[in-house]
Each structure stands twice: as C-alpha cells, then as structure tokens.
Amino acid sequence: MAAVDDLQFQEFDDAENLLAVNRDATTISIGDSHENSKKQRKSFRNVPKDEDDDLLGNEESDKTELLAGQRKSAPFWTFEYYQTLFDVDTYQVLDRIKGSVLPIPGKNFVRLYIRSNPDLYGPFWICATLVFAIAISGNISNFILHVGGPTYHYVPEFRKVTIAATAIYCYAWLVPLALWGFLMWRNSKVMNIVCYSFLEIVCVYGYSLFIYIPTAVLWIIPLEWLRWVSVVCAMCLSGSVLVLTFWPAVRDDQRRIAIATVSAIVILHALLAIGCKTYFFDLPEAGNQIQSPLPSTSNVTIKTASQKT
C-alpha cells in the first residue's frame, strides 16, 4: 500500500528547460524540420546532389503525402473539399508567382513553393488575366497599327476573347492531364523517386503562364524585333521552370523517353506563345502595306481619268 503512494507521476520538462540546465546533453528531435534533415544528410554524404536534397528522399515525401492526406479529408462532392484547394494567403500566391518567373537551378518549384498545398486560385485567375490581356493588347496593337488608314474602321473584336479563352484554358488543363497520365504510366513501369499529383502539375502550369501577361502588354509596341526578343525571354524563363520541375520525374527513365518528354513540354509551351502572338497581333509590315499601294492606284486612276477626258 505504501509503495503505491510512493509512486508519483513525474512531469518531464520541455527540451529547452532541460537544455538550459545541462547544455552539453545530446538531443534527439523526432519531428525533424526541413533544414535540420538537410544539414544532417549533407554531412553524411560525400557528394551531395542538390536536386536530391530538395526532393528530400523517400521519408520526407512520405511525410508530405501523409500531410496531404490529413489536409484533404473531405470527400470531393462537398464544398469543403474545394475550400482546401483555395487555402492560400496573399503572400503565398505572390511567392509562387515569383518562383515561377525566377528559375533557380537545383530548386524544384513544386517542392519549394507548393509543398503539398496546391491551389487552384493561381492557375484559374492567371489564365483569366492572360486571356483578357492578350485580347485587349491585340486590340490596342492592331488599332495603333492601322489607325489613319482610310479603309480602317475600328472594331472591338470581341470574338477573339472567346477564342483566346478556349486556347489558354485548354492548354492549362489538358496538357497537365496528358502529362500526369503519361507520368503515371511510366511510374508503373519504372520506379521513380518523384510522383506529382494532378493538382500539383496544374498548379505548376498555371503559375508558369504568369510571365506571358507582361509579355502580352509589351507586345502592344509594334516593333517586330522587340516582340520576338520578349517572347524568347519569356519562353526561356518559364520553360526552364517547367524543365527543372519535371526533369527529376523522368530522369530515371530511358534516355530517349526522358528527353522526348521534356522537349514536348518545351515545344508546347513555345507553341502557345508563338500561336498567340501570330493570331492576335498583326505584323507591323501589314500596316505599311495598306498605305503604300494607295498613292500608286490613285495616280493610275487620275491618269486614266485625264486620258479619257
């Protein structure tokens, strides 16, 4: 009986309090933070590869998968499920936009910025802004080119908005669907380290389209060399973000398939940019051609009229 009374529950202090008492005690923290695990792994390995550190190996991806499972626990037919897809703050959206424009070699956009919290706010509203930016910039640019021409009557060209919307939303949703299906299929054949979810791929593609918004505004200036320089710069920046994101996913596959996949991503990205530029923005030479033949035809008509009289 007395032994039971002697057994008393002992509360253990926090780690900080214990460390304050005895600073040299060895500590083992179970819930590793991102930076701690990186440092430990770097000290163990002789040749640390940056991409592997960022891909965080298998255990971190398992943890993030678990966290993703805990976050999205609502079934997909409830409103709360879609609310988890919009669970971002203003600074997070701005960070992701900044990350899509500045590719840092060795950093993976998905792991660094998205971190198993893909959102649909960015892709949807960046695509909507891009649609209206292209349509409005094309309209302004054509107006500046053709104004003053005698046969020109300004039209707002509203139908181009629907065409632009169809093209951009198809690119932003169907290409990620195809890419995700392709990666799933290859994943069943070859064991990959990294496997992105469909929403993460949509997120990357949506944010990578952001660079085209200032490019479209820059295209208002009717200088052909400026347009080409800006489109090449934009393609390089966002294309490299896409390549850096998807290269680790196909790296372990056969060489030919890996290179084919990455080049398909880049080519589709380029096609979208060049297609939009060609369809919505007239070439600057067309404006000059409308004006130049007119004096010669008017001279001809004056001559024939004078000859007849």
Binding site: Y82, Q83, L85, F86, V88, D89, T90, Y91, V93, Y121, W125, A128, T129, F132, I136, N139, P150, T151, H153, Y154, V155, P156, E157, F158, R159, K160
Partner: protein, 238 residues
C-alpha cells in the same frame, strides 16, 4: 457562541422582520401586454394595388442606388439584398453595348447575350471565389453588391453614348476615357467598401483582384464601344 447561533439559523430568516410601510403604494398590473392582431391594420400584400407593390420595390432599388453612389460602410445593401437592381442595370448595359445587326459580318463588339452572360457569370465566379477563400458573405448578398456596383459604369455608358452622338474625334475619346476611368474607380471602391469586411484579413488582396479584373473588362467594353456609323459606308470598300 455567536458562531453556533448563526449556523443553526435558517437562511433569510431576518427578512421576515422587515415591515412594509403603508406609504409605499404597491400596485400595478402584472399581466404581460399581448398584441392582439386587429383585423384592420394588417392585410396581406396580395390585396394592395399593383402601383404600391411596384413603387415599394422601386423605392428599395432606388435607396440602394443612393448607397452605391455614396458608399459608406453600411450594411443596408447586405441586409436587404435583392436582385432587381442588378437585373435592371445589366439589361440596360447589355442593350446599350450590343452591336447592331448590320455589323454582323465584321468582328465587332459583343452581342447582347455575350454581355449579359459575362456580367452574370463573372459575378457568380467572383462570389464563388470569395466563398472558397473563406468569406463569410452569403451567395446572393455578394451577387447583389456586385450587381449594384455596376451603376457608375452604366452612367458612364450613357454619358459615352451622348458624347459619341456629338463627335467622334480625339477630344471625345479623351472625355470618354476620363469618364470611364472615374466610374471604374468608383465601382471598384464601392464594391470593396461593401465586401471587404467579410473576408479574412490575410486574403483581402486575393478577393479584391478578381473584382478589379471584372470591372476593368466591363470598362474596356464601354470604352471601345464603336457605334456602327453610317460614315463607314462612304469610305472606299475592298
């Protein structure tokens, strides 16, 4: 000794010693007044003349117009929401923005249905966006606010059409540009004044940006409205 006495006495024993003096009148009615429904002062709105019904709704719509034109942080728009005002404004704007049928061969301005769908679909998408981001406003309240805040843009459209009746040169363009910019700023400011309080504080910019884009697109359609002028038939055709 005294402690024992106090513990054995019953509670509130001392109160029986208090005597009510005869001067204080203690009287009054204890019954609770109950509203008995009289037959005369409450009749259903089915029996009133039609003019009263319409005028009551019109007055409610007009009161909300005044709230939009002088936006203060009031809850009148949110409390008694209705969709008559937005419908009226949307139909007026779409009627004025649609291109005439003679322009159908060229790629001209929007049709009536396109403007109508753009305004309503855009409002629904913005409302869904704010609800998904965690806003506490209800669906129809948000539709009501967004629809009523189109009023400055509709006024700008009327002014633009009147200016276009006069001249079509660069001066009229500058006047229209200034009018449209002012009304665009007014609409955006009014709608954010009503909607901003219901959003979580670290996501306000995420909710305000789509509203900005929505009114920007409508302003663009108003600014680029080009009437099918008869002067185009005078120029040399292809």
């Amino acid at each position: 000794m005294a402690e024992v006495d106090e513990s054995t006495k019953p509670l509130f024993a001392g109160l029986s010693d208090v005597s009510i003096s005869e001067d204080i009148p203690v009287e009054g009615e204890i019954s609770v007044p109950v509203d008995s429904p009289t037959q005369d002062d409450e009749y259903s709105t089915l029996d009133e003349p039609v003019k009263e019904t319409i005028l009551r709704d019109l007055k409610a719509v007009g009161k909300k117009f005044v709230h939009v034109l002088y936006p203060k942080k009031s809850t009148a728009l949110l409390r008694d929401w209705d969709l008559w005002g937005p419908l009226l404004l949307c139909v007026t704007l779409a009627l004025m923005l649609q291109r005439s049928s003679t322009d159908s061969k060229e790629d001209g301005g929007p049709q009536f249905a396109e403007v109508f769908v753009l305004i309503w679909f855009g409002s629904v998408v913005i409302t869904l966006n704010s609800k998904l981001l965690g806003g506490t406003i209800s669906f129809f309240q948000s539709l009501c606010v967004l629809g009523y805040c189109i009023l400055p843009l509709t006024v700008a459209m009327i002014i633009c059409r009147l200016v276009l009746l006069g001249s079509e040169g660069i001066v009229s363009f500058i006047i229209r540009f200034i009018v449209v910019i002012v009304s665009f700023g007014w609409s955006t400011f009014a709608s954010t004044a009503f909607l901003a309080d219901s959003q979580p504080p670290n996501r306000k910019a995420l909710v305000v940006y789509p509203i900005f884009l929505f009114y920007f697109v409508i302003s663009w359609m108003i600014l680029t409205f080009a009437p099918s002028s008869s002067s185009s038939t005078k120029t040399v055709g292809h």
